[in-house]
């Protein structure tokens, strides 16, 4: 391996196929393609929702009809035909099991391929899993332990039925229906997702986590996640995704809303590894996500993301720092390869006094991919002593990819302190030479450098996830990360 060069790496990256590409054949209860008011109503009825929810969906649908797709992002793709997508699909034999033995073996096989068998997960450091296969919650574990603390962790469809007052109070308050095109679409047709409520003063004893997976050909997946941390509570929430290899583009438009009330803290971590398309840029998931958190007084929201998959990523986890002394954080690694395009970043809206935000973004582009950071830091005129630090670094591998930075900084308060810095570079030959000199071969050297480059963000991930994130970086940049 001593002659392993960057060219070899590039070659390997080009030919590296998606490892987790498989397709599980579970009979699905799938709606015919197309979207209209009747379909929206049918989804709502199918999910046995109360009338206010149906109305809310219809209202969203009407708003969506008035809107046009945004075009400002630095990505190029063939727009999906929204009438050629089926808006509902649920595993047929809706299982409600008490033990794993009753679970459809084929489904279990899926989990095994991914190396996340429920047994294993149950034992793993007390992680509760709310597994979503194609939109409907199949299994929820550790529910009892959580319930003892008064923590509500369930699928959002269940929550609508069991805790309508909470859902009704908070849904759409952080991401309004008319926020953007995809948020409106999601509000109209969201299939399922997770709901989490941490009561006053409770520190959630374990990392909450969900696995999302797109499984049915031609099915768009529209999750809706709502996390509410009541006064003085703490929760760490994990979200991770892999998707089977599919030829046609799959649309994914999720909405995540976080609400951190006074003195609460939410840590939200994502590992995203949906099918990025093959080496020729064919197929792949379109990932148009709206994620936003609201911080009340002294609250803190921290977003950490590792983005390695999807053909198109359009994602800006944001923080609205409404309360005084609130804190927003954003840590991101975005890796693009082959023909992937990512336009990702964050928005930090400083409204309260003494609010602080930190942005650390690391972009790695290889192959023919395009990787953009787009961020907004806005200091309102009443946000005295607001503080922001932003750093976005890009690493380029090969001369056919691109790295772009679009930071928007708007300050209206004289006591604001904002620092922004960005660098773009490739792996230095001198760095590799130095490693070679010390007896580290080039492959390991590249691994070392990329690892060091992303360390700041990887360190922010919870332990269980950091392992997985490393694994995903390995798949995306095979041979370069140890």
């Amino acid at each position: 391996m001593s002659k392993y060069t960057e060219d070899d790496l590039r070659e390997e990256l080009k030919t590296k196929e998606y490892e987790y590409g498989f397709y599980t054949d579970i009979e699905s209860d799938t709606f015919p393609n197309g979207l209209n008011e009747a379909v929206v109503k049918a989804i709502s009825i199918k999910k046995e929702e109360p009338e206010w929810m149906t109305e809310w969906r219809l209202e969203s649908f009407r708003i969506w009809q008035q809107m046009t797709e945004p075009e400002w992002a630095n990505v190029k793709y063939k727009k999906p035909d929204f009438q050629a997508i089926s808006y509902y699909s649920a595993p047929n034999k809706k299982p409600k099991y008490n033990s794993l033995d009753e679970v459809d073996p084929e489904l279990l096989e899926t989990f095994n391929k991914l190396g996340i068998s429920l047994d294993e997960q149950k034992q793993l450091a007390g992680v509760a899993m709310d597994v979503v296969v194609d939109s409907v919650s199949v299994a929820t574990t550790f529910k009892k332990t959580l319930a003892e603390q008064g923590i509500i962790f369930m699928s959002i469809s269940e929550a609508i039925k069991e805790h309508p007052e909470l859902v009704k109070k908070y849904i759409g308050t952080v991401v309004p229906q008319k926020d953007n095109f995809y948020a409106a679409l999601n509000s109209a047709v969201f299939s399922d997702g997770s709901f989490c409520y941490i009561p006053k003063g409770v520190k959630c004893p374990m990392e909450l986590s969900t696995y999302f997976r797109i499984n049915q050909a031609g099915t768009g997946q529209f999750e809706r996640t709502l996390v509410i941390a009541d006064e003085g509570s703490y929760v760490s929430y994990l979200e991770g995704c892999t998707a089977p290899s599919r030829d046609e583009n799959q649309l994914h438009a999720a909405v995540v809303e976080l609400i951190a009330l006074e003195d609460a803290e939410i840590k939200y971590s994502t590992v995203q590894n949906w099918f990025p398309g093959d080496a020729k840029g064919k197929g792949g998931v379109f990932n148009f996500v709206t994620k936003r958190g609201l911080c009340e007084k002294n609250a803190k929201i921290s977003w950490t993301q590792v983005e390695t998959g999807s053909a198109i990523t359009w994602k800006y986890p944001s923080c609205v720092l409404k309360g005084d002394n609130s804190v927003g954080e954003f840590y991101s690694i975005a890796v693009t390869n082959n023909y992937q395009q990512a336009d990702t970043g964050t928005k930090m809206i400083h409204l309260g006094k003494n609010t602080k935000s930190t942005i650390i973004s690391k972009g790695i582009s290889a192959g023919k991919s395009q990787n953009s950071y787009r961020g907004l830091v806005q200091i309102n005129s009443r946000a005295d002593n607001a503080r922001n630090f932003s750093q976005c670094d890009s690493l380029l591998m090969g001369n056919e990819c691109g790295a772009h930075t679009f930071p928007y900084i708007e300050a209206k308060n004289k006591s604001a302190k904002i620092e922004h810095e960005a660098t773009t570079s490739k792996i230095g030959e001198d760095q590799i030479f130095y490693c070679n000199q010390r007896g580290i071969d080039t492959e390991k050297a590249i691994a070392l450098i990329v690892n060091g480059f992303s360390k700041e963000v990887l360190n922010k991930l919870p332990m269980e996830f950091a392992v997985e994130a490393q694994k995903l970086l390995e798949i995306s940049l095979e041979g370069s990360v140890g």
Binding site: E400, C401, A411, K412, K414, K417, T424, S425
Partner: protein
């Protein structure tokens, strides 16, 4: 009738008046079509997100000044850098003023666009350079359509121009509201060197809108130092469009000093079309009241081994607004590019606003590109230190602000100009201490 319609209908009259050189005639006709299509930019366009022209476009501007106005030198002397010998090209209300100017044809041409358009001996230069760098956006096209007057500077090979050239636009305000569209063409030959100072000054309280286009071509190893002084009164607005095309090993630097004016928009574009080129873009902005200054820069790296340096400093008080939108594009071919961008701002007042967007678009891997951007306040400790040394608060603040912008000032190569600018800064900060530190 809104301004756009007025301009479109005036174009017919205008085109009849100027004698029809076929090349320029065609360019103007194409340009007016582009303007008709694109119109004035609105806030919906990404590049104009933070700057609205609506207010200044509402005035009823007269597009052609009715008469020639004369001014006495002693009345306008203070707007000139008068303590050194310079070439001068002076315009009053858009018309050339021969008795204030000092032009030359000896070994080079420092004269007028109107002459260059009409005389056959300039024809080749016009056909090769006119409108070859300018953009095809609405405002540049509008200027192209109405281009008739401005500075024409042609420096041949191996020529060191020993004195700076001043381009000064004065407006008298004999019209109620005036729109000016000066057009400058500057070609600097191989191994030549020139310094240019440009200034727009309104002498009236009537609104003036200047939509200026300057095209600069630097040949092999040519060097140009260009200084723009923007210290107009509060009724004057300026949209400055500058396009610089550089050939290999040439060095171009642009210093923009924005202290005055109602709305000032600087569209500064550098195109690096050869290897080992160096481009410098620097600016100091100190504004207050309801002033609005927008720096929109582009450096397009097309060839390998080039460098670009950007350094913009801004101090904003009262209800002023500062915008910085810097864009660096590094094309795939432009390996070994070093591109640096810095934008530092001080907000003095809560009503002041800063919007900044330093953008990098990079398609080559072997590059070093960075940008830094800060918004902050004066260092309390430094201020305290100065005050313990007996320096009053106001002066101490001014000293710190001066130090803040000194990075830009220190690279001004004309000593008299530097003095002049430090004086303007002192004036702007309301202190009377000399800054010859």
């Amino acid at each position: 009738m809104d301004l756009k319609e007025k301009l479109l209908s005036s174009f017919m009259i205008f085109e009849d008046k100027v004698d029809a050189d076929t090349y320029v005639h065609n360019v103007r006709n194409d340009a007016i079509k582009t303007f008709e299509e694109k119109g004035f930019p609105t806030k919906k366009e990404e590049a104009w997100k933070y700057t609205s022209l609506n207010k200044i476009l509402k005035e009823d501007y007269s597009v052609f000044p009715k008469q020639e106005n004369a001014l006495e030198y002693r009345d306008v002397k203070k707007y000139f850098i008068h303590d050194i010998d310079t070439y001068k090209i002076v315009f009053i209300d858009g018309k050339y003023s021969s008795h204030l100017s000092q032009t030359t044809h000896e070994g080079m041409d420092v004269c007028l666009m109107s002459a260059a358009f009409s005389k056959p001996k300039y024809r080749l230069v016009i056909e090769n350079y006119f409108n070859k760098a300018a953009g095809k956006d609405g405002l540049s096209s509008l200027n192209t359509a109405f281009s008739s007057e401005g500075a024409y500077i042609f420096i041949p090979k191996n020529k060191l121009v020993e004195k700076p050239i001043q381009i000064i636009h004065l407006s008298t305000g004999n019209e109620s509201a005036l729109m000016l569209q000066p057009r400058n063409l500057i070609v600097i030959g191989e191994n030549s060197y020139v310094q240019i100072i440009e200034r727009h000054q309104s002498l009236t309280d009537n609104p003036v809108l200047t939509n200026s286009v300057t095209e600069i071509f630097t040949k092999k190893r040519a060097i140009v130092d260009y200084y723009k002084i923007q210290n107009d009164n509060l009724n004057a607005s300026l949209i400055d469009n500058t396009f610089i095309k550089q050939q290999q090993e040439s060095i171009a630097s642009m210093h923009t000093f924005s202290f005055g004016g109602n709305l000032t928009r600087n569209n500064l574009n550098f195109y690096q079309e050869g290897e080992r080129i160096d481009s410098t873009l620097k600016g100091v902005t100190i504004i207050g009241d309801k002033q609005h200054v927008d720096h929109n820069t582009l450096v397009h790296h097309l060839e390998p081994n080039c460098e670009s340096h950007q350094d913009y400093k801004g101090i904003f008080s009262d209800s002023s607004t500062g915008v910085f939108n810097g864009k660096v594009i590094v094309e795939k071919e432009a390996q070994k590019t070093n591109a640096f961008q810095a934008n530092n701002n001080i907000l003095v007042n809560d009503r002041a606003t800063i919007n900044t967007k330093p953008q990098l678009e990079i398609f080559a891997d072997d590059v070093k590109c960075s940008h830094g951007c800060t918004i902050g306040q004066l260092d309390e400790n430094a201020l305290f230190y100065l005050r313990t040394r007996g320096i009053p608060e106001k002066e101490a603040k001014a000293l710190l602000m001066y130090a803040f912008s000194n990075n830009v000032l220190s690279s001004v190569k004309i000593a008299e100009l530097k003095q002049r600018i430090t004086k303007i800064i002192a004036n702007k900060l309301g202190v009377s201490i000399g800054f010859d530190l």
